[in-house]
């Protein structure tokens, strides 16, 4: 029988073997009373199994509050625990409750993070994965051999549908591939969702009629299930190609329901992610997290960016991008969305470390505030990526590309 393996980074005041057994016991059959007919075979079949314990360092202060260590030491380790898929089948919420659930409550742990999940082969058959993914999003936007270049509407709240549409028109004419709502914007008093779709899709469809290129706009439909379905349909009918969901706010069952419609690319925004990840010994790491949303069918997912304005390290961002490019359900991949303080200068380091152009590369000020205007901004980003792929340094790219040179003057620090 197939098994699913959870890989954890733990800290415990107890012996590692004992702590691992507690973890497996809590998320397993439990045995506090003897049940007639409960055989050793049944236990073998349904109980969680500790597969590996890889000891790391011991420390003198616990990472998070829990039981006090008698020895004064808190032991860290990587451990692996597996479950038979007979326990939950293909039920993602129950899988999450099994892999995480009450584990974070256990006083036996002063740190616990789910690092990765190993899924069995049959999951690839059962879950279709994203309908579009990298290949589909490239086809929808007609972009090959370079990252999709995207931006976000700012101010996120306060603009009328007409003002937003005017901005989209400017961006489309500048050659943008992708534009998105802010996660704070869905349907506001002065920008009703349907009015915004109407105004923006008129601009995008007109531009497509003229140029043959349809800009992908991610309308934020995050809401209750019925509203999301209604607005999804509204986008489809208006000729749109993408909807955005705030994954953590909507939750897995709602996101899966929307992805299952399979007519629009789903832009997965991970706002709230810091709560789940920022502490080094609490929560979940991105390689595990992204697998769950890819099984649900998300086509694009946020990964932050190299030299970002947030707290995340470049190493972590690189790991996240690499995780997205690993095939999962039905051999599909998910398009990593790179954002946060990006203006093109980071293209070189991003490419050097990931060796991929399969990215949706988002810049805000780097486009709108470019000295040559938005067109210069979009061109500069394309140039930066071309230079990066050609193996140029930033200085060499500055000599070759005038628009990128102007980006560096405005946004760059010495490099």
């Amino acid at each position: 029988m197939e098994r699913i393996t959870g890989k954890y980074y733990i800290e415990t005041p107890y012996e590692l073997e004992k702590a691992a057994a507690v973890l497996a016991g809590e998320q397993s059959s439990g045995t506090f009373v003897a049940i007639p007919g409960e055989t050793e075979e049944l236990k073998q079949r349904f109980a969680a199994r500790v597969e590996k314990i890889m000891p790391l360092e011991s420390v003198k202060e616990p990472a998070i509050p829990g039981a006090t260590s008698k020895s004064g030491l808190y032991h860290r380790a990587n451990i692996e625990v597996s479950w038979s898929i007979e326990n939950f089948g293909y039920n993602l919420p129950v899988l999450i409750s099994t892999l995480q659930g009450n584990l974070y409550e256990l006083t036996q742990f002063t740190g616990l993070k789910l690092m990765d999940i190993e899924l069995p082969a049959s999951y690839s058959g059962h879950f279709k994965g994203p309908q579009f993914g990298i290949t589909g999003c490239r086809e929808l936007t007609q972009v090959q051999d370079r990252p999709l270049i995207g931006t976000i509407i700012k101010p996120s709240i306060g603009m009328s549908p007409q003002q937003t549409a005017a901005l989209v028109k400017t961006l489309a004419e500048a050659g943008i591939d992708f534009v998105k709502d802010d996660e704070l914007q869905s349907s506001a008093a002065n920008s009703k969702f349907e009015d915004r779709v109407d105004a923006i899709m008129r601009v995008i469809n007109d531009h497509a009629d003229k140029t043959g290129k349809k800009v992908m706009y991610a309308f934020n439909i995050s809401d209750e299930t019925d509203s999301m379905l209604r607005r999804y349909e509204y986008i489809v009918n208006a000729g749109g190609t993408c909807a955005m969901l705030s994954l953590n706010s909507v939750g897995l069952s709602g996101v899966k329901k929307i992805c299952d419609q399979r007519q629009l690319a789903i832009h997965g925004h991970r706002n709230g992610w810091g709560m789940l990840n920022r502490h080094p010994l609490l929560g979940i790491e991105f390689p595990a997290y992204q697998k769950l949303w890819r099984l649900a069918g998300v086509d694009q997912i946020h990964v932050n960016g190299i030299q970002n304005k947030f707290w995340e390290s470049d190493d972590s961002v690189v790991r996240s991008i690499e995780a997205c490019l690993q095939p999962l359900a039905n051999g599909t991949t998910v398009l990593p969305v790179v954002s946060s303080g990006q203006w093109g200068g980071q293209a070189f380091e991003t490419y050097r470390r990931t060796q991929t152009v399969d990215l949706l590369y988002m810049a805000g000020g780097g486009i709108m505030a470019h000295p040559d205007g938005p067109t210069g901004g979009v061109v500069a980003l394309q140039q930066a990526w071309q230079g990066a792929v050609y193996g140029l340094t930033q200085q060499e790219a500055v000599k070759k590309y005038p628009e990128f040179a102007n980006s560096v003057k405005k946004f760059g620090t010495s490099s």
Copy 2:
């Protein structure tokens, strides 16, 4: 215009005023380019507003990784920030993205926890709240003037529907009010969901026919949306009165969709909660958390228990119970589910501190492993609560109640 206020506990290497402004700015209109037509009036209307800054202590080590302090000090404070409901209306996922969202990513904070939310009056009109809540769950189980006494099926995985039903029969005959699936159990290889409902509801309906009392069984329907709706209907048709959802695993949009059916009491399990709460300066506190799920319509929600086996303090548990009993949408309340290591001995302290019997009081071993059998276990819990309400000490209750006295012998430590 009505506003929603988020109350945060923060830590920052920056001046408090500056950090609060960053928080409000990140979750607000944003201003990185000047937009034609963006007036001061528009900003006033849509921008987040810092309402209060209440400085606390400064510390020398940051609680979580972030920006380094130049002064070497990290300043803690309680702050309040408000948003106009024009920004998101009655959209709970966008409200969550606004109140939490990218805030946890900000390097300007080395700690950030959402402590509570103040909702405007119109939310009470818009959101119906739970269909059953405390009053409705009491009516369904015919229990007045004492906590509902409940238990959980163990082992959580591995028993056949027939074995589970036999256990439910024993518990029903013992006088139990409520029984629930484990959060790890929904539909497993040897306990298909529908078979389990059939077997258990046969027992519960038979018992109700004989005695007039229908035991409430919380079947775990956590899954994708369509499956949850199908199984919800299956429970309704079988004469059941309750369904269980793992709130964090299913997510808000899925939970709201199920609650909106309004035919079954919804048992809200908070597994995964430790990830969101365990660090003192990261995540969300229960007073804020429970409001979101109550707006979604959850009838019962887990609060852990006094002297529990997990890491949570009694003070935190008491605050959680009190939060549940505050009226919210349409003046409704939610039934607090007390569990984790409970056997009756904690009734005295629980009542002393909360002065309420509006609880679903869950015990596992305290019932099944009682020296006089499950009937003795259920009776002992009822006695403990009667004693607590009468103002008896545990010692006085031991003298008065023989079954409770046997509980103390088996489960109690010196008191």
